[in-house]
Amino acid sequence: MTIKEKQDAIVEEFSMFDDWMDKYSYLIELGKELPAIEEKYKDPQHLISGCQSRVWLHARHDEDGKIYFTADSDAVITKGIVSLLIKTFSGYSANEILNTDMNFLEQIGLKEHLSPTRSNGLLSMIKQIQLYARAFKLKENN
């Protein structure tokens, strides 16, 4: 499955919810499925700034050239959002991640979270994921 296909599947899943409560309940559930980050990575180095709640994100570059993310947050909605991102981007190469657009977040009605004033840091999370991908790509090229 490509990232695009995964995003389409998420959009379809979200289209089934007709009210915000179902959508947020689902996000809260997603948060619980989040691949747990190792305690040692819950440090200032892995903390994403710009969030009212704390978010830690760690990336591992495997020998197969693919990037795997783990994360955690102390707020459950934020956890659900970061879980969604990780579900989408974990297990792909740096190039695949960098060549993906983020329209799907708008389509599932999470656009409000993209505004910088929301201060939940969705924007910072996406930037951090892309930053990791860029860094790993540079390493590959060297």
Binding site: Y24, I28, S53
Partner: protein, 405 residues
């Protein structure tokens, strides 16, 4: 006369808005209040009929604008009962008022001096003093609070000594809602010859402020937390202080005479108002303060106290909710946490149900750290909020808690 809440609500057009399909319940008044139609009209009337630069033109419009602007200053004087009109300095808001004062006091603070602030200060009344102390080699001392969110006056008195140059404290805490016994505190400080600045940002729209009765040397507040627009605020400073202190910014309006060699500075309050001022802001501030006066500050206080008491009762009945700040004297702000749930999640879901609250550290990080919390949720009230809104908010909160548990 009874408190006519429906008439008041009708004056605030934004209260008719829907948020996420629900009627707006605006409980973020501690961050900024909404504006009545009278204030909105005042701003547009100014640009429709009077706009002109003040204090310099010989033409009619400029004269009119100047008269209105200075009239607004006089009204602010009356509102807080300052002795003289030139003790009212217009600023952008509380933050600028305090920065102005901290800059002007800089030469007066020397190595070894001490400045007292409390553990419940907003960053605006904390960081400027921290910076000043750092620059001048002075010590910033923090007056602690007890578990209820109250200051210990005996301890406070013990912290005052011959090196204490200033006590800067908040009139009302933006996080805890505590009303500090400022009159008593000022008396203690005065007896030791220590000047006092009050941060009135959270007080001005909620409780009577009489600077002569309080006896403070300086008082700072923002217009936008008192039904006026953003970008206008006031620093009240006793004439005998402000006349001796140096200017804050340099430029137009604040000068007396400028030559290539030397400049001399204008009289108070103009010495502290460099550049073209926020004229429409000052006019709208007057309109807002008149609105408060017509409603009656005591009636507003009574109404808001009732809302607060009702909200405290309602919230206390919800399992897992803990109210933060249980001082005997409180006004208009209610902070709480829900056990095991992050404040951000609570705020996010309340918004979905049309309830606007503030979450986080409320720009008082040292206080939040002191309380050992990740932040709080704060519902803060204004004159237009109703008991029914509090009920709906409590119902929404029950729903939120059940979703997140």
């Amino acid at each position: 006369m009874s408190y006519d809440i429906q008439k008041i609500r009708a004056d605030f057009p934004i209260l008719r808005r829907q948020i996420n399909g629900k009627p707006l319940i605006y409980f973020d008044n501690g961050a900024t209040t909404q504006k009545p139609q009278q204030v909105i009209d005042c701003i547009s009337n100014y640009y429709l009929h009077q706009n002109s630069n003040v204090h310099r033109g010989v033409h009619t419009l400029s004269q009119e604008a100047t008269d209105l602007f200075e009239g607004a200053r006089e009204y602010v004087r009356q509102f807080i009962n300052a002795e003289e009109t030139n003790e009212i300095i217009f600023t952008r808001g509380t933050t600028e008022s305090i920065n102005l004062l901290a800059t002007a006091l800089k030469p007066w603070i020397v190595k070894g001096d001490e400045i007292l602030v409390t553990a419940m200060e907003h960053h605006s009344n904390f960081v400027p003093w921290q910076q000043l102390c750092e620059k001048r080699g002075a010590r910033l001392k923090i007056v602690p609070i007890n578990r209820n969110g109250e200051l210990d006056l005996e301890f406070l008195e013990k912290m005052m000594n011959p090196y204490t140059k200033l006590l800067a404290l908040t009139h009302v805490s933006n996080v805890l809602g505590t009303i500090n016994p400022v009159k008593k505190i000022i008396k203690i400080a005065k007896d030791k010859g220590i000047p006092v600045l009050l941060d009135g940002a959270q007080a001005i729209a909620h409780t009577k402020v009489d600077v002569q009765d309080l006896g403070c040397d300086f008082y700072a507040f923002s217009g936008h937390k008192a039904y006026a627009p953003m970008g206008i605020g006031v620093l009240y400073g006793k004439f005998n202080w402000m006349r001796r202190l140096p200017p804050y910014q340099f430029g137009g309006e604040m000068i007396d005479e400028v030559t290539f060699e030397k400049s001399t500075f204008n009289e108070l309050p103009f010495k502290y108002e460099a550049g073209t001022p926020n004229v429409e802001g000052a006019l709208a501030l007057e309109t807002a303060l008149r609105y408060i006066n017509e409603t009656g500050i005591d009636a507003i206080r009574q109404h808001e106290d009732k809302l607060l008491a009702h909200a405290e009762t309602k919230l206390s009945a919800i399992e897992g909710v803990r109210i933060i700040g249980t001082a005997k004297q409180k006004t208009a702000a209610l902070s709480f946490v829900v056990e095991g749930i992050h404040p951000y999640d609570v705020g996010m879901l309340l918004d979905k149900m049309g309830v606007a609250v503030r979450t986080g550290h409320h720009c008082a990080q040292p206080l939040i750290d002191f309380l050992g919390l990740p932040g709080t949720v704060r519902a803060s009230f204004a004159m237009y909020n109703t008991k029914e809104e509090v009920d709906l908010f409590a119902d929404a909160l029950v729903k939120v808690v059940s979703m997140l548990k």
